[in-house]
Symmetry: D2
Subunit: 90 residues, 4 copies
């Protein structure tokens, strides 16, 4: 993970962490269930954005290095890893 992305990820994770604490306060103050669900869905979207940044960085670094190598096993490894990530999403 190149450093310019590293700090961005950490900032996003800190925002998500704060958002989770916010939902705790909502539960504490008996917020309406649908409003809670709107917040957890917003957190899911922040995590999805985070995933995209991680995947983009991964494709441009580790996957590119492995596929450009002459190690066929390395290519298969990164392809299988990507498929697992993809299948978990479906």
């Amino acid at each position: 993970m190149r450093s310019e992305h590293q700090q961005d990820l950490i900032n996003r994770l800190k925002t998500i962490e704060g958002h989770v604490r916010g939902v705790q306060r909502m539960v504490d103050s008996h917020a309406y269930c649908i409003d809670l669900l709107k917040q957890t869905q917003a957190i899911q979207q922040s995590l999805a954005k985070l995933d995209s940044i991680i995947l983009a960085e991964h494709l441009r670094t580790c996957v590119t290095t492995a596929i450009r190598s002459d190690e066929i096993s390395e290519r298969e490894r990164v392809v299988n890893e990507l498929l697992q990530v993809f299948e978990k999403l479906h």
Copy 2:
């Protein structure tokens, strides 16, 4: 939200909060991207479980009260809210 569920939700949210901090440490220590994605997907699953608990409680309290009322507008309100939650998930 009945109190027995309230504490359960808060405990789950605190676990998610800790999990998010854990991912921050992984990013800090240059963890492999795929390992990061496995953790964010685990957090998504925890949030999904949280959503189910919130929705179950909502269906059994607010939705039941509104649908059993004689206010047709109240019934339509809770139905439309549920559809919005459902559509955001798809």
Copy 3:
């Protein structure tokens, strides 16, 4: 399912059926993989829209009837069914 929705669902299903046949032709003519994925994702979205129509109709008929009944077991049945649909989506 009230008849005005029934015909709408059947028309949508026939469109989806035609779309699936269209993807078969694309595979036959060696279309680019990403173009295939764009079509299968479009079919998924059509199915998601179909699900919303079915769920809206279900909430306004069967769920409302069951929840307004005095049979607590009927209320629990429709609530549990909705939760299963919801959890499969997550």
Copy 4:
């Protein structure tokens, strides 16, 4: 798409096509809404499996060829295409 996968995809698409027709018959015969939703979710899972096969084939052919080429623009193209597929899923 290599031919051994092509026939597999076409067979799966024909099965999905038949499944969609089956749901039409269920709607025609006033099947219970939840049973309809179970079938559309089963079709979604078949499409998800189809997507995995297409993506696996794409990663092992087009993506590998592009990333092993010396055309940086080709590498960026296949990476961006993968990210779009990934983001649509989230």
